[in-house]
């Protein structure tokens, strides 16, 4: 809701763009902003592909998306600029990060090719395709100047979008709700572990289990308590002088410490 209010409040201020420049006419301000942000956008894109760490990749992508949002605003499309920021840098990027966390931050690509030469072929074909599209677009768009932009934005960019959204694309717009329902249902089906009613553990049951016969209700001993070293690998000493293995992290043995390393350490005197 807060988002909606912010957006709605920002609306009029953004839409009241005074007379747009004539087609093909690029203002100095636009040029300056473009030349500052174009390297940023490109750098972000390259960084995203090149970064070893997946989280860094995601952050590079955020940079690129922000730069693109400014470009959209610059191109007299404030609505699409706002969508880019709210939906893409906001929501979609968050989903990206969550997916990264699902996979594990440290997970990296496997370098084993299951198909021989696939990687090289993919790189070659990708570059070829990019060159093809880029060269065709340069040829196709080199001499093109924006037409009808002023007309389309006459009543304001967002109003123009509302006008087509609620006339020609009204059915497509309504059907988008089907897409949203499908997304929500799909997320539920694939990700929501529904527990049968009896399986939900309540606070009461937890408490009972804790004080049940045979379990130790008190806190676990912290590492280093009654010990002579503050290493986490040092077990706490019980009042009788024995070592409490409850005090050592489960991870420590898993890391394969030698018994010498895990043994209680004494400070040199």
């Amino acid at each position: 809701m807060i988002l909606a209010q912010t957006v709605a409040a920002a609306g009029p201020a953004l839409d009241a763009a005074p007379a747009l420049a004539a087609a093909g006419d690029v203002s100095v301000g636009e040029q300056v902003v473009f030349w500052i942000l174009a390297p940023v956008a490109l750098g972000g894109a390259i960084g995203m592909v090149a970064a070893r760490n997946a989280v860094h990749s995601a952050l590079f992508l955020v940079t690129t998306m922000f730069a693109l949002a400014v470009f959209y605003v610059l191109q007299a499309g404030p609505f699409i600029g706002m969508v880019q920021i709210i939906v893409y840098t906001g929501a979609i990027m968050m989903l990206f990060l969550f997916v990264l966390m699902l996979v594990g931050r440290e997970a990296s690509d496997s370098l084993i090719e299951t198909l021989r030469g696939q990687r090289m072929a993919a790189i070659g074909l990708g570059i070829g395709f990019a060159l093809l599209v880029a060269s065709a677009l340069t040829r196709g768009l080199g001499a093109v100047s924006a037409q009808g932009l002023e007309e389309a934005n006459r009543g304001g960019n967002v109003e123009g979008i509302a006008a087509v959204l609620f006339t020609r694309y009204i059915f497509a717009f309504e059907v988008t709700s089907a897409l949203l329902i499908t997304a929500a249902v799909g997320a539920m089906v694939l990700a929501h572990v529904e527990r049968p009613k009896g399986m939900k553990v309540s606070q009461k049951e937890r408490s009972r289990a804790r004080f049940a016969e045979g379990s130790y209700p008190g806190m676990k001993a912290g590492p280093g308590v009654f010990a002579t070293s503050d290493s986490v690998a040092t077990p706490a000493l019980l009042p009788d002088g024995g070592e409490s293995d409850r005090s050592i992290s489960r991870v420590v043995p898993a890391r394969g410490l030698t018994s010498a390393e895990a043994a209680p350490k004494h400070t040199e005197r």
Partner: protein, 121 residues
């Protein structure tokens, strides 16, 4: 296009940035400096921290569900934006269509709620 309407936003960005920079830069200059022996000692922390918490730093999948639901309603809100701006021009027709749209997305909400998708445990 003329960029002057965006000047306030640029100004706001600049202000925010300047404030953050100012806060960080000023803290060591005006903060109190009281040193004692313990503070000056090198911190000895035993063994190296394990590189990953148990499970390899992975999040439970329920976070993903929350993120996905957020996106669904985020996109719904995006459609409210042009409708709200052009509300007067669209009139009753726009209102009815928007109610239909919100009603449809509300179905997803009701489903998620009833099936416990919003419960945390």
């Amino acid at each position: 296009m003329s960029l002057s309407p965006y000047l306030p936003i640029v100004g706001l960005f600049a202000l925010a940035f300047a404030f953050a920079l100012f806060s960080v830069a000023i803290a060591p200059l005006i903060g109190p400096r009281r040193y004692n022996k313990a503070k000056l000692e090198a911190y000895e922390c035993g063994i190296e921290p394990t590189p990953q918490p148990v499970g390899g730093g992975r999040f439970p999948i329920k976070f993903y569900l929350t993120a996905m639901l957020f996106i669904v309603f985020d996109i719904e809100i995006i459609f409210l934006y042009p409708w709200a701006v052009a509300y007067d021009a669209l009139g009753l027709f726009g209102f009815v269509e928007m109610v239909l749209f919100i009603g449809a997305v509300f179905i997803a909400y009701a489903y998620v709620w009833k099936r416990g998708g919003l419960d945390w445990d």
